[in-house]
Subunit: 255 residues, 2 copies
DNA sequence: GACAATATTTAGATTAACCTAAATTTGTCT
DNA sequence: AGACAAATTTAGGTTAATCTAAATATTGTC
């Protein structure tokens, strides 16, 4: 079995490949917050294990074996995130950190049961696709809000792990499945003027924030949302749905 | 934060103290399947950390701090076991191993949310008491079936981690909340003749097995069971209850 | 009370994962 | 082409948790 450390290396490298970013020693080191030298050591080790190809002074590429391993970890991570959010009522800004630890210790059985409990979901709370048991991912070509054309859009994904930022976005209502209109783009890297569905007043959003928000044209978005909603309602298990937190502490606490 | 290894040491020592067993170097080593010398090293380290008192050539005793830490781990372990059983539909013979890994990585938030999800349960799937958030445990003075007097009893606890044995017991119907009559005790360490509630034919059970089964007189058992049943029905969440495994694979699998 | 059997500790090594600092390679710019 | 900066690798060291084998302490028995 692989150590958590190895799993983290693979996950990071997969993510870099997804982003078309060369997995050089220093970049991997920066992402994992370790010294360059530690990465060099690890690369050699992972090459010996057949998980990646290592070209000195260039960087690494995952082998098929390495890719599959990384995808398995990603699957665990995202299913756990969704479980934390939906069943345990975690705020979406909290799910990442907890999943980061759990993903390294849960068994295959655990993952498959979670998958079933959640109704074989397609996406995690941030709108990221959950790979299936064979490592297949459904590709989606989303536009980021910063690049979107004026008009109606539906948020499908938010790419960020920063709890503070995610909390802010939630307060503003900028979460997956929310519909909005892009009204105006202030020139010279200025903010975007947007109006959320249901609200009457428009609001402004910084460009950097908009780069993390991924949308689809509103008419196409309809179908996607219906699918999800249907699926979710069939699986309304957990704390969040039943709002146990309002009438808390029964049973053992009051004997 | 403590390492998993440290948590395992503390949990083991707590268990030995509960069993009134002296936590000597060699006994701790045997339980954890490590060399005696490793234990000596660790004891010194844990003493320095104020988690236990170490008397060379004698053994160790937990300090209050050590005890509380161990109880916290135990709480995590047992809540996770119950979650695996009730929400994810794990067989009771599988819960221990998985919990053994999860218990070291889940946050306090996770534990408290699980507790709420499960309806603040008092016991894990084996009938062991779950310590509350402050580390209090409800004491119960149960008789083991091997020592019980003839008559009606209710099983409240089964002390074993051996998957094979637990599977056997489940097949025989010897699980917590089951009622049975002890009919006869065959002399000279012979088996017990018992009859389970609902069944018509009596059966025989080896004495070693009977030592792992803890019971309470049937009339007292009634009340306890009612409490539990009530609590559980208020929280009928999860795979097991809804029997998702029969109509499996929907959603992502069939797009 | 001596002495063997048993339990425990000490000594010295190993492994995974990391570090810092020094050497080396690569790529760019004139 | 040569020189320099940046990136990368090498060298040597650290820490936690383990091991084996040797040394030492405790205990029970005659």
């Amino acid at each position: 079995m692989l150590t958590s450390t190895v799993e983290d290396y693979l996950k990071t490298i997969l993510n870099m490949e997804d982003m078309k970013e060369r997995a050089s020693t220093s970049r991997v080191a920066r992402r994992l917050a370790v010294a360059d030298a530690s990465v060099t050591d690890m690369m050699r080790k992972l090459q010996k294990a057949g998980l990646l190809e290592y070209r000195p002074y260039y960087g690494v590429t995952l082998t098929e074996k390495g890719r599959q391993t990384a995808l398995k970890v990603l699957r665990r991570h995202r299913l756990i995130e969704l479980f934390l959010h939906r069943t345990l009522g975690y705020g979406w800004e909290l799910v990442h950190e907890e999943a980061e630890r759990l993903e390294h210790v849960v068994s295959d059985l655990f993952v498959e049961r979670l998958d079933a409990l959640l109704g074989f979901p397609a996406k995690d709370p941030h709108g990221e696709a959950i790979p299936d048991a064979k490592g297949h991912r459904q590709e989606e070509h989303l536009t980021c809000l910063a690049d979107a054309r004026p008009g109606a859009h539906t948020i499908l994904r938010v790419k960020s792990r920063d709890p503070g930022f995610l909390t802010f976005l939630e307060q503003e209502g900028l979460v997956p499945s929310r519909c909005l209109s892009l009204l105006e783009r202030i020139p010279f890297q200025g903010p975007l003027k947007i109006k959320l569905s249901g609200k009457r007043v428009p609001q402004y959003l910084g460009l950097e924030a908009a780069k993390c928000i991924f949308v689809i044209a509103a008419d196409q978005g309809e179908r996607e949302l219906l699918e999800e909603a249907k699926n979710r309602s069939r699986h309304s298990t957990g704390l969040k749905d039943r709002q146990v937190f309002k009438n808390k502490r029964r049973g053992r606490e009051r004997p």
